[in-house]
Amino acid sequence: MKVLVPVKRVIDYNVKVRVKADGSGVDLANVKMSMNPFDEISVEQAIRLKEAGQADEVVAVSIGVKQSQETLRTALAMGADRAILVVATDDVHNDIEPLAVAKILKAIVDEEQPGLVLCGKQAIDNDMNATGQMLAALMGWSQATFASEVSIEGDKAKVTREVDGGLQTIEVSMPTVITVDLRLNEPRYASLPNIMKAKKKPLDEKTPEDYGVDVSNRLEIVKTEEPEARAAGIKVGSVDELVEKLKEAGAV
């Protein structure tokens, strides 16, 4: 079975985000970019499936600016076998929308015929949480979102999902789209031999036109704002005082 893993280049989770002066979005010029942390988890899961003999090839895909190549090299260094880069924009501030991404992924799935697509549940930049679901709909495949446990047996996948207030286990038929949540696994570091090998692994470069997909934006960002600054806290001297303050604040 082939596993397809879409990975997105996003602002590094350690970077303190700054809103652009014109409110059109977040300033991405000269900030550290990394692989979306949820995608690291899906790459890890795909590699584990390969190590367990359940997958025979892991293909990483990224859609965005040319520099997404670095993100794909990271996936290759972690252990993916080859990569496809779809250069869809040359502007780091142009975030390709989920539907366009899902359409390109559909075209790639049609071509590659994977048995499984493993996505992050969302990208930490815009938190859309939509691409995996849209891809499943476009393909007419089953989907299992927010996976915290995955096991594949024959043509079925058993997936434990993190839902509000608990866990839900579902069974879906393969091929399927699984979107992964934080607790599924702990992604590995790229090993030094794999870093050195990554460069020799194939990386195909494509454009949206190759797949006949229009990537122009349909959504308009009206305004981006910094979250309100958190009010300073207070120190309390005892449990009694804590309870009292909480009562005053109407919290208990």
Partner: protein, 386 residues
């Protein structure tokens, strides 16, 4: 000219950086408090590094290393510089001088060191011979086919965890027009060799948990098989292999300074006095400007010296410049950061006081700042006859 890192180099940097942040930082406070690295923790770090293929990455592939270039290895050292040295010691970079091993010694020392099975320490310094290495008193005399060693070494880093030692010992004296000159031989000495003892050393303000020890030789017999390189060839071995070690001190200093600087920057942006962020005061903001300028300058000196080594260009002076500049830069950066933190900078609630203490030794070991300046100036003036 191209100043960017390749994709592989970026990945090496980000992997080592995450490793240090996730596997080293969480244990730092404890090591600092106790002055010890528990054996189990040391082993855990070693095992992870071995699994990642980074252990002994400074060694060529044919002996089981990763064959990194000087530049790539310098990037690794730079990222490791962020973390506690007591802990990053177990990231495993055996002395590359072990490449001087002969076939038989390879099996006993080089290969086990690269595989992480045996750890090494290097001993040159003595109580009466620091900068003046040739002034050493520890000596070996022939007795039959063996050498009999007497004397001592001090300040030997990592000796507490070492399984064997690379020791420089005087093996004779040459009379020269400039007076007597000692001949020096490099020996491989196993822990536990009769007549050889490793004793606790001094407590240092820098790098708690990264201990230095005293080595004592009392009629210790070593056969010829323990000689590394040629008899009386100690200086040749030293010049060939220890030439570049100073650069790791420069790389350490740059990495450590960047970590420290991040603290200064965020504190300047958060701490308020007189109703505004202290970073708004020119007195503080210009310090930030000077710090980053110094750090970047040291970084470039260090990387370009490493690049020269890779190109087989003369690099002795450039390495010395990088070492002296980076270590003095680190002293300034840690001191300025502490100043920006005010009184809190001195308290061990923050790692600033530790960075400040750690920085002090960098200007002393692997050749003091004065010795580096001597190397730089001799390189320029000697050809002019001065």
């Amino acid at each position: 000219m191209h100043f960017g890192l390749s994709e592989e180099q970026e990945m090496i940097v980000s992997t080592v950086r995450s490793f240090v942040e996730n596997e080293i930082y969480p244990h730092e406070a404890e090591v600092e408090r106790t002055g010890e690295v528990p054996h189990a923790l040391a082993q855990k770090i070693k095992d992870k590094v071995l699994e990642l293929g980074f252990y002994a990455c400074n060694f060529p592939e044919e002996v089981g290393g990763a064959g990194l270039s000087h530049l790539d290895f310098t990037l690794v050292e730079r990222e490791l510089g962020r973390g506690s040295m007591a802990l990053t010691h177990f990231f495993g970079r055996p002395q590359n001088i072990l490449m001087a091993c002969n076939e038989e010694q390879r099996e006993r020392y080089l290969l086990p060191a690269v595989r992480g099975e045996r750890m090494d320490a290097l001993a040159m310094t003595e109580p009466d011979a620091g900068s003046d290495v040739r002034g050493m008193k520890c000596s070996a005399v022939r007795q039959g086919s063996d050498w009999v060693v007497n004397g001592s070494k001090h300040f030997i880093s990592g000796a507490d965890h070492a399984d064997f030692f690379i020791v420089f010992i005087a093996t004779g004296v040459d009379e020269t027009p400039k007076g007597p000159k000692k001949r020096i031989t490099t020996f491989l000495v196993d822990r536990g060799t009769p007549g050889f003892e490793v004793r606790d050393g001094y407590r240092s303000v820098s790098h708690r948990g990264y201990k230095n020890c005293i080595l004592e030789f009392d009629d210790c017999r070593l056969p010829d098989a323990q000689v590394l390189g040629e008899v009386d060839g100690g200086f040749a071995v030293m010049n060939e292999w220890l030439y570049a070690t100073r650069l790791t001190v420069a790389a350490f200093s740059v990495g450590r300074a960047r970590r420290c600087f991040d603290y200064a920057l965020s504190y300047a942006a958060e701490r308020k006095q007189f109703g505004q962020h202290i970073g708004k005061f020119q007195g503080v903001s210009f310090q930030i400007a000077d710090m980053i300028t110094d750090i970047d300058a040291s970084d470039l000196l260090t990387l370009s010296a490493a690049w020269r080594l890779d190109q087989d260009l003369p690099a002795n002076r450039e390495i010395a410049s990088a070492k002296v500049h980076a270590t003095e830069m680190l002293a300034k950066v840690t001191d300025t950061t502490l100043q920006i933190y005010g009184g809190m900078g001195l308290m061990d609630d923050f790692p600033i006081e530790r960075f400040w203490r750690d920085a002090r030794v960098e200007r002393i070991w692997d050749g003091t700042s004065e010795i580096q300046r001597h190397i730089i100036s001799r390189d320029l003036l000697r050809p002019l006859g001065a």
